[in-house]
Amino acid sequence: MNAPFFKFGAFGDETALVVAFVIGIAFGWFLERAGFGSAKKLVSQFYLDDLAVFKVMFTAIVTAMLGTFYLGWLGVLDLSLVYLTPTNLWPQIAGGLVLGFGFVIGGYCPGTSMVGAATGRIDAMVYVLGVAAGTFVVGEAFPLIKPFYESGFLGRLTLPEVLHLPYGVVVLLVVLMAIGGFVGAEWLEKRAGSGAGSGAASGAAKEASR
């Protein structure tokens, strides 16, 4: 059994769209279950009283990272066939910063705004329109920004290559960093008066106390 299945010709483009839809359903399901259809829940991350965004995101990163690493090690998954977005350092740094601004201003990121919109959040629907408008502006301005867009090109680059460390060592470092982060996150939530894990309660409790 060779993975990625699609890259080994297990099915064609049309079937891939069905796979996309099914994977999307599961993706949307877990985002909503985590509470990420709610802007208030999401931005709590930035007011340090509910760090569910960090916890969910890093648990997901660690889970998928360990899965791909071990499947690669076992020879089941050919990691070189997995698509990685090439690194363009400067636009990615600038884009990340602008996206971070947009996150705390708008209350969502593109994926979570879809879940918010699907569960009736009118602000999420307006937010999606905003994303479309921003995308259109980038498209129209593309000839102007193209030199910056293509700057800092480093190609397909991974952290193990940057740090000159074996892949498994970086995996271990990320796991340790995540665990440290989780301990810190729990401590911050306790300090914010959240109590037993369920983060959103902290925000509500804080509001009630005001």
Binding site: T85, I105, V131
Partner: protein
């Protein structure tokens, strides 16, 4: 509005019109269930991402679907203009025969369905505007559009958003994704104090 997503309300029981319910809550058929434990949800999300890598050889995404949609719409309204623009043309040539037959478009359609089903089963689907107790609805919607527009610009510059870069690239130890992710948190924390009035 502040009680809409309050798990404490559901902990007090689903009984409609119980003594705990504010007038606002009483308007709803039932209280929302509490959210899933974040670590459990994270493992679930991680397994979905792993499945995408194993089955497709690619990660998850979201902003790319909006790129496809915007490019398709531009092409419908002004075909020559869209074809003459490198950015829009890239999306128009991407789909399997049609710009909207793109992988991320179908994935995002799934996200809408999955998010709706999860919300429906947990009693969390309702027409509302999420905002802080001091924010007005109009201000919140204006900020939502502004934030979305910034997100649209940022995601295009960065070649992906929190889904495609931070989550998907993060798990594959993609160097650019990690640089991006650090900057997302830096940007959001930098403006958190300035936006406090809208949220707290």
């Amino acid at each position: 509005m502040s009680t809409v997503l309050d798990p404490a309300a559901s902990a007090s029981g689903r009984a409609h019109g119980s003594a705990h319910d504010s007038a606002h809550d009483a308007a709803h058929a039932r209280a929302a269930e509490p959210y899933m434990n974040p670590y459990v949800a994270g493992v679930g999300l991680g397994l979905v991402l792993l499945a995408a890598y194993v089955i497709m050889g690619r990660g998850l995404g979201a902003s790319g679907a909006i790129g496809s949609f915007v490019s398709w719409l531009t092409g419908e309204i002004a075909p020559a203009h869209a074809e003459g623009n490198e950015f829009f043309r890239g999306y128009l040539e991407e789909g399997a025969g049609h710009p909207l037959k793109a992988w991320l478009v179908f994935e995002v359609l799934g996200v809408l369905v999955g998010g709706f089903l999860s919300g429906l089963l947990a009693g969390r689907v309702r027409a509302t505007v999420e905002k802080g107790p001091r924010a007005t609805v109009n201000a919140r919607l204006a900020w939502a559009f502004t934030g979305g527009a910034l997100m649209g610009v940022g995601a295009k510059l960065a070649r992906g958003c929190t889904s495609g870069q931070a989550l998907s690239g993060g798990a594959m130890l993609n160097a650019g994704s990690w640089a991006f992710m650090m900057m997302v948190f830096a940007g959001a924390y930098a403006l958190a104090a300035a936006m406090r009035r809208q949220w707290r």
